[in-house]
């Protein structure tokens, strides 16, 4: 688990980390605390099976931190097969560490954000899959909601079944897995941010 910070605790850090684990069907214990989940056990996502979490490291969300974090975890256990990364620069750094250890072909790196640079990295195989978000749409809907509140006083309702308003997210990969909805990098680069 390549997380964000080692000098502050922020919601984006634990929400992404714990969201990834929840998706795999791993109990995260305290939802607002990274790294307190059981290190070994059974996951229920997909076909299910046994898992082992080698460790959680901070990356500062950047290439250099991503590389150092990945190197350290590989030192701890060279048989890592899946790497969660907080964002795409950290993923790119992790890839450099994997390449240097000759493991870039055997390890799946997943990430979050879907910026254009990140989508390019999915295309070139650095990142296996990334969850794309849409900041322009968030801003658009946010301003609309403010206008609505100012005019009518009506607050936006949470999306059905969620405790927040869902502005949408799509999984970007060129190697679609059965039973998982995803879009290709070609589609994703049409709507990525930071062109």
């Amino acid at each position: 688990m390549l997380d964000l910070f080692d000098d502050k605790v922020v919601s984006v850090d634990y929400n992404r980390d714990q969201g990834f684990l929840t998706g795999l069907g791993i109990d995260t214990a305290d939802k607002k605390k990274n790294g307190d989940e059981a290190k070994t056990g059974k996951y229920t996502g997909g076909k299910g099976g046994d898992y082992e979490i080698v460790g959680s490291q901070a990356t500062q969300g950047a290439e250099d931190g991503g590389r150092t974090a990945m190197e350290t975890l590989l030192s701890k256990n060279p048989n890592i097969n899946v790497v969660y990364t907080i964002n795409e620069p950290a993923a790119a750094g992790a890839y450099e560490a994997l390449k240097s250890a000759g493991k870039e072909k055997d390890v799946l790196v997943v990430s979050i954000d879907g910026g254009c640079a990140g989508v390019n990295n999915v295309k070139s195989g650095v990142i296996g899959a990334t969850a794309q978000q849409y900041p322009v749409k968030m801003a658009e809907l946010g301003v609309k909601a403010i206008v609505e509140i100012a005019k009518t006083g009506k607050k936006p309702a949470n999306s059905e079944g969620l405790d927040f308003f869902n502005t949408g997210v799509a999984l970007v990969t060129d190697k679609a897995a059965d039973g998982v909805t995803s879009i290709t990098t070609a589609e994703a680069s049409q709507m990525c941010w930071g062109k």
Binding site: A62, E63, D64, T72, K76, S124
Partner: protein, 347 residues
């Protein structure tokens, strides 16, 4: 000291008595030795921590892991050279990381977006480093501003320039000419994998150790840091020495930029956020005094390695990342306390 003072009572007796007492306790003998060799205490800390972490996790002492630690400290170790030079003059540089990143962005963008040949792009990076050093040095010597304030200001200036220049975009290593990422290449020396960046860093340490120890300029740096006024009275052109130190630091930072590009295989304005302070951490743990005039460049290398060993060792031992930060904090306090204790020695 005049002869009268040492020979005549009562000071002479007191001095003799103290010297006599000093010889009696093993503790003060240790202190004398540590005082004479400033790199000795960080060397002991490094040795002990390597042994302890080796006992905690048997993977720690593997050659591959130790080689990784050297690669992980290459950038901060290089920046810490520049930081040591400045701290030896009783200054401090909060902008080292920002200068390094600005330099790396200029090198990468010139080479990739403007088609400048790699050697010329690296030369431009060196000029950025020298220019930044010149700005810091100019403000410190001409306006007589404290280095802390100057570099706090230029830190923000360099960060802003980096983002304005790069537009926040990362330049990927795959688009760069091979020479720029050469510092990230590795070779085998027996069973040990060594990166070119680490070799470059070590060469810089050897060069700076030689210059500080064996040249008049090196003596002047220590003299200016120890007591500016005394140095001036001894005929040292204090401002010229200070300016040259900031320029030298800028040049070192440009090399650091090259090493950073190789290590991350990219030039990114997001990297190195902690490097400004991490370089100071390495210098302090390495036993160099923040009051200037005392310290050793080899201590700094040991300091950088100690931090690298702690972060790696604590991770392998399975400690949460927040505790790693805690450990580094305790390490700093311990290092400075030991330094204070050693400095109490009678010279």
């Amino acid at each position: 000291m005049t002869q009268q003072q040492t020979a005549g009572p009562p000071t002479g007796v007191a001095d003799l008595a103290e010297e006599f007492l000093d010889r009696q306790t093993p503790l003060s003998r240790i202190r004398n030795i540590l005082h004479r060799y400033p790199a000795l205490s960080p060397a002991i800390v490094l040795l002990v921590s390597v042994i302890v972490f080796g006992l905690l996790n048997d993977r720690f002492l593997r050659v591959e892991n130790l080689s990784l630690i050297t690669q992980q400290v290459a950038v901060v170790g290089t920046l810490a050279i520049a930081q040591t030079l400045i701290i030896l003059t009783a200054g401090i540089d909060l902008s080292v990381g920002a200068v390094m990143i600005l330099s790396s962005m200029v090198v990468a963008q010139l080479a990739v977006n403007n088609g400048v040949p790699a050697p010329l792009a690296l030369l431009a990076g060196l000029l950025v480093g020298l220019g930044a050093g010149a700005l810091n040095g100019f403000l410190v010597t001409r306006f007589r501003l404290p280095p802390f304030i100057v570099t706090l200001g230029t830190l923000n200036i360099f960060i802003a320039l980096t983002l304005l220049y790069s537009n926040g975009a990362t330049v990927r290593g795959s688009a760069m000419p091979g020479m720029l990422t050469w510092t990230g290449s590795t070779f085998l020396l027996g069973p040990v994998r060594i990166s070119t960046g680490v070799v470059l860093m070590l060469l810089l340490y050897i060069a700076v150790a030689f210059i500080l120890g064996k040249t008049a300029w090196g003596r002047h740096v220590y003299a200016v840091g120890d007591d500016k006024e005394a140095a001036r009275l001894a005929g040292i052109a204090v401002n010229r020495v200070l300016m040259s130190v900031y320029l030298a630091a800028g040049a070192v930072l440009a090399v650091g930029a090259w090493i950073q590009i190789g290590r991350t295989n990219a030039a990114s304005p997001n990297t190195g956020v902690d490097l400004n302070l991490d370089s100071i951490t390495a210098v302090v743990i390495g036993g160099t005094s923040l009051f200037g005039g005392r310290g050793s460049i080899w201590g700094t290398l040991l300091g950088a390695l100690i931090v690298g060993v702690f972060r790696n060792g604590l991770s392998l031992a399975g400690l949460d990342v927040l505790y790693q930060t805690l450990a580094v904090g305790i390490l700093i306090i311990l290092a400075v306390s030991i330094d204070q204790w050693i400095r109490k020695v009678k010279s």
